[in-house]
């Protein structure tokens, strides 16, 4: 223990690290404390043994903020992956940017409609995307400051600049459901299914749920598509960790926080689980609101805040199956290059919606929606020899099914996922050398994310923008002076965007310079 830190960041996930890097670059003395042994949180590359490494939870980048990459001078090697909409009849399609073709080559009949829809969605998403790298507009005190008015004015201006037709269309669809939006333009099938799956990945909603257009646009905020970091998703958090340490931040592992110390309504530091006291003038928590609140103690918050924190909705619906394979699976109808793409099992939007139904009643989807990727095909450094890793993001799986998780339940889910994939990869079962299933409950246990939810707090309209994660706490400051939320629960939200962390850090810097 040596002196007082300017800031302690709780959690070395991508947001905690991005916050730490931002603060350290501004000259602050920063310490990141992480309960686990390594950086990463939900964005980690792990060693599965048998000479295979792969992503543990998150596996792709959809919307990493270019501003964050630029500001923190991250050197990231990423490969853009095409999206492969798998079709039960074998007529798989390749979606790459606005282009849509059959995997076997040849014009896709929906190509023109898809291109138009994609282009429109990207335009809308870009408008939303500009909101991500700053705090949400403030409505407190009726736009009291010039800055608030400026923010709202720019927002309005951006909306106006879209042109009348686009503006109307944007306002018409923004709160509506992805299912209707997509099926207005495309027949239901694998293309519509892939878009619908993108709209609801990580959230507690089906594509017919209101707000699913927003989550689709959120994911397309940087132009849509997906990128694979070389070295696995952990390369991103490693780069962020380097950015933080290069700028002077310290990282401490195996350092779970037992409590945030508060005196006279001001943060004084943290006490670690081993009893170590660390003095700091600010604490940024990348945890969700409720666990963050628990660390400081309910007594330091208003009653309304504790009530809202308790009511923040975060029901995880995503399970993760990581498989080590003897060799690359064969997917009839796909070339080797296409097999390395982002494989989507969502034969139709209706399929995705049907998959959502059981989870409402605590059951696993009979026919799950899967986003699979075999990162080792793009990045051979992950595996020795012929080995490959297959990473599958699986929806919908309840946090805890009725009766709780049992070995039989886990085995049944694993089998169901493998069977679903095997419909497209006939030889898959024989190739499996090892597999690891992470249910939402496991993900919660590993990362502390409430409900094992990807975004720490549901990305629904009542928990977005000026009310993310909750009313009155939308601009990172979290009640006690010097305490901030810097994780996925804060604006703009989840996915590996890198945005909430630096936004929170800037809020702290702003307050310190004021």
């Amino acid at each position: 223990m040596s002196g007082v830190f300017d800031a302690v960041v709780i959690g070395a996930g991508h947001n905690g690290l991005a916050a730490a890097a931002t603060l350290a670059r501004a000259g602050m003395r920063v310490l990141v404390v992480e309960r686990a042994k390594t950086v990463g949180g939900m964005a980690k590359t792990v060693d599965w043994g048998a000479g295979a490494k792969g992503p543990e939870i998150a596996h792709l980048l959809y919307n990493l903020s270019p501003a964050v990459t630029r500001d923190l001078k991250l050197s990231l090697d990423t490969r853009s992956l095409p999206t492969i909409a798998l079709s039960p009849d074998g007529a798989h399609a390749v979606m790459d940017g606005a282009s849509l073709i059959f995997a076997a080559g040849g014009m896709h009949p929906q190509a023109a409609d898809y291109a138009a829809l994609h282009e429109r969605l990207c335009r809308f998403a870009a408008f939303l995307g500009q909101l991500s790298d700053k705090p949400p507009p403030s409505l407190a005190g009726g736009l009291a400051s010039l800055r608030d008015i400026g923010g709202m004015a720019r927002l309005g201006l951006g909306l106006k600049r879209m042109g009348k037709a686009d503006m109307r269309e944007f306002l018409r669809v923004i709160l509506s459901n992805a299912h209707d939006l997509i099926l207005d333009e495309l027949p239901d099938g694998p293309i519509a299914g892939a878009l619908a799956a993108d709209a609801v990945r990580g959230v507690w909603a089906g594509p017919r749920g209101p707000g699913s257009v927003f989550t689709l646009l959120y994911r397309m905020g940087q132009g849509g598509g997906a990128a694979l970091p070389i070295g696995g998703i952990g390369a991103v958090t490693d780069a962020l960790a380097r950015a933080a340490t290069t700028a002077g931040a310290e990282l401490r592992f195996g350092a779970g926080v037992a409590s945030v110390e508060v005196e006279a309504d001001t943060v004084r530091g943290v006490t670690l689980e081993d009893g170590t006291k660390i003095a700091a003038t600010a604490v940024l928590s990348s945890l969700a609101p409720l666990p963050s609140l628990h660390l400081a103690g309910a007594a330091h918050f208003d009653v309304e805040t504790t009530r809202r924190a308790r009511k923040v909705r975060a029901k995880g619906t995503v399970a993760k199956l990581n498989i080590v394979l003897k060799s690359a699976p064969d997917i009839p109808g796909l070339t080797d290059a296409q097999t390395a793409g982002r494989l989507i099992v969502a034969p139709s939007a209706a399929y995705v919606e049907s998959a959502f139904n059981p989870v409402k009643y605590g059951a696993v989807s009979k026919h799950p929606v899967i986003e699979a990727v075999i990162p080792s095909l793009t990045d051979p450094s992950l595996c020795d020899g012929d080995r490959q890793v297959l990473s599958a993001v699986v929806q919908y799986v309840p946090h805890t099914p009725e009766g709780g998780w049992t070995d039989a339940g886990r085995a049944a889910l694993t089998r169901r996922i493998i069977d679903t994939l095997a419909a497209y990869m006939p030889g898959l079962p024989e190739l499996i050398e090892g597999k690891t299933l992470l249910t939402p409950a496991d993900i919660e246990h590993l990362t502390g994310a409430p409900g094992g939810h990807w975004h720490h707090a549901e990305m629904s309209i009542d928990q977005l923008l000026t009310v993310r994660p909750m009313n009155g706490m939308a601009r990172y400051a979290f009640g006690v002076s010097g305490l901030y939320l810097c994780g996925a629960s804060a604006h703009p939200g989840g996915d590996v965007t890198g945005s909430p962390g630096p936004n929170a850090a800037r809020r702290l810097l702003q307050e310190r310079s004021a």
Binding site: D265, A298, A299, V303, T306, V480
Partner: protein, 392 residues
């Protein structure tokens, strides 16, 4: 009687049969769902009994909540604006609590029955709020509203009356409370600004307690009273009432109807240094920015009660209104509590006028009457605080 029938309308309180027998005016009003007397005989008789004899008023419709457990002190300290740690067991504190914006939710009396045992008495329904406020603390919260009855015995001869009833409380100081007999707690509290006690017992024991006091009251001028007389006394004492001087913010449907303790004149009751309490951050902000309103005691010319009248500066600019106004029979003044918009009432206190309409035998006339702001309660009498009380 079919016990499954849900009563429609107001229901009788625990001593209603006694009140019914005494009621000549048949003037009833609703209070938290109970039939409560507005006037039993005449408001004047009843008022003068408060100031010259002793009166009995059923306060059982008040909401009562029991908060117990190791976290009770900390929980209440986070909820109310004053420092609960400074209220010793056996003492009662007047408390206010606010929402996150510093707006008063309600006020009431907090009885500290033990180290980890409190009873909160208040006007508004507060159970769900208390449950929210209790989250994160090791406490148990019980709604005792329908289990605990209360009788308010107020007036200069109340101590003597209690002695005659076999309850000698000569050593009891204002805001003391104690268990005097099994099932009977007495506190030296009240809403009249006079000598008085409140007696708390089980719902079913209220009738017997009433009879016991009634029997002892013969020589002490005991009179049962209704709300109208009590209201005159409480305005004389300068006490605020929920729904009158402030709108309990959870019940207010319109924006900006809430008022802060500072605006209600209780700034000095806020214990800023006790740690966080609900609304503290917002209230600190108001300290910096200044209050929007101030609640003041005013003396109005003439004798017509000015309840609800608008107040003007220089007879032109509307700056507030009278929240409660009565003719004060004891001080012989036309008194009121009034809310003024800042800066009136604080830095600008002159040239203020009350607008009244008077009916002179069928002819209405508008009058602008001067008002002057008072800094002390209208009725102050040392007998209210003397310990032991005098045997009047």
């Amino acid at each position: 009687m079919n016990t499954h029938t849900v009563p429609i309308g107001l229901v009788p309180g625990p001593v209603h049969d006694r009140l019914e027998a005494l009621s000549r005016a048949k003037s009833w009003m609703g209070w938290a769902g109970y039939i409560s007397p507005a006037v039993l005989e005449t408001a004047e008789f009843e008022y003068f009994a408060i100031r010259n004899q002793t009166t009995l008023f059923d306060i059982s419709p008040m909401h009562k909540y029991r908060i117990t457990g190791p976290g009770a002190e900390a929980m209440l300290n986070r909820m109310v604006i004053r420092d609960v740690t400074r209220i010793a067991p056996g003492r009662v504190g007047y408390v206010m609590w606010c929402d996150q914006d510093g707006m008063v939710i309600d006020d009431g009396t907090l009885f500290r029955l033990g180290d980890a045992d409190f009873r909160l008495c208040c006007q508004e329904l507060m159970y769900s709020w208390l449950l929210d406020a209790g989250w994160g603390f090791d406490v148990q919260i019980i709604d005792e509203s329908h289990r605990v009855a209360g009788l308010s015995l107020q007036g200069p001869t109340s101590w003597s009356l209690l002695k005659e009833a076999g309850l000698d409380l000569g050593d009891m100081k204002p805001f003391d409370c104690r268990q005097v007999e099994p099932g009977l707690m007495i506190s030296r509290t009240g809403f009249t600004g006079d000598l008085g006690y409140e007696l708390w017992t089980g719902w079913d024991g209220a009738g017997a307690l009433w009879d016991r006091l009634w029997a002892a009251g013969r020589n002490w001028g005991l009179r049962a009273i209704g709300y109208v007389a009590l209201n005159i006394a409480r305005i004389e004492a300068g006490f605020i009432a929920a729904g009158m001087e402030f709108q309990p913010v959870h019940a207010a449907r319109r924006l900006h109807r809430g008022r802060t303790p500072i605006e209600l004149g209780f700034g000095r009751m806020v214990h800023w240094d006790k740690g966080h309490f609900n609304g503290r951050r917002a209230l600190l902000g108001q300290l910096g920015k200044g209050s929007r309103y101030s609640l003041v005691k005013v003396d109005i010319a003439g004798f017509k009660p000015a309840h609800g009248a608008l107040i003007y500066h220089r007879k032109r600019r509307e700056v507030g209104y009278v929240t409660s106004g009565v003719w004060s029979p004891t001080t012989k003044r036309n008194i009121a509590l009034a809310e003024l918009k800042a800066p009136y009432g604080t830095t600008r206190t002159d040239d203020l006028w009350v607008e009244l309409y008077v009916n002179e035998e069928g002819r209405w006339d508008r009058r602008m009457l001067p008002l002057t702001i008072q800094d002390k309660p209208f009725f102050i009498n040392p007998r209210a605080r003397a310990t032991p009380p005098g045997p009047f």
